[in-house]
């Protein structure tokens, strides 16, 4: 790949009620094969995608929340969660899955994938992107 572009995926929907969250995750995983610079943003109801303890046996749908834990393996290591969206929903980072990525070049050291950022910080990050995909 000649030039690496910055890809930004915007997630604004809750899981299960609509198919957006799952579609986004699949596109991210497929896109990861192209070895671009990938960033995910979780805004509004998108923050619900990262909730801990999801258990879908009762609704007969596939629980795709464990797949977020594989993102690190796909070199998707930047997941930004908007602080304002969390607070409006009575949530803190402790309500979210503890997502890690391992640094192969640093003896597989574990690093946090999720970073909570303010709207202003997220606006800056968004403005630096080459390609924005919205779900």
């Amino acid at each position: 790949m000649s030039t690496i572009k910055k890809f930004f995926y915007v997630n604004r929907k809750a899981p299960y009620g609509t198919v957006y969250a799952l579609e986004s995750l699949e596109v991210v995983l497929i896109g990861a094969a192209f070895e671009q610079d990938v960033t995910l943003a979780f805004i509004d109801d998108g923050v619900y995608q990262l909730m801990k303890n999801q258990s879908t046996a009762g609704i007969g749908m596939k629980n795709f929340s464990p797949t977020y834990k594989a993102l690190g393996d796909y070199d998707v290591t930047k997941l930004y969660v908007e602080k304002e969206s969390l607070e409006a929903r009575g949530l803190t980072i402790d309500d979210l899955m503890d997502l890690k990525w391992e640094d192969e070049d640093d003896d597989w050291a574990e690093n946090d994938s999720i970073r909570v950022v303010t709207s202003a910080e997220l606006a800056d990050i968004m403005s630096e992107q080459d390609v924005v995909l919205s779900f």
Partner: protein, 102 residues
């Protein structure tokens, strides 16, 4: 006439739940299902509205939809009753009519 209202949209994404609260009469029941269940959580921007309606309406939330979304019982606003699918059927029968807000 007691009516059962069901809401399946997130109150943070659509105004469905708000319209339901505005139009549900005293003595009615509100059952949150699918993405509607998020409104049942404590400390959200919707909580105050629900707390003030708690005296006139009875609030239910569908357990399997809570579990799917990782919502624990202790995260719910006080006064919410959890029902399973059988409970959903019972509520439908006990009420005179059902309004499914979409």
């Amino acid at each position: 006439m007691a009516m059962l209202h069901t809401v399946n949209k997130s109150s943070f994404d659509r105004n469905t739940f708000e319209s339901c609260l505005r139009l549900a009469k005293e003595g009615s029941s509100v059952l949150l299902i699918e993405d509607g269940v998020y409104a049942a959580m404590k400390n959200t921007t919707a909580a105050e509205q629900i707390n003030s309606a708690m005296g006139t309406l009875t609030f239910y939330v569908l357990g399997p939809d809570m579990d799917a979304r990782g919502i624990k019982a202790d995260a719910l606003i006080d006064g919410f009753k959890i029902v399973d699918y059988n409970g959903f059927v019972d509520l439908s029968i006990e009420h005179d009519s059902v309004q499914s807000w979409l």
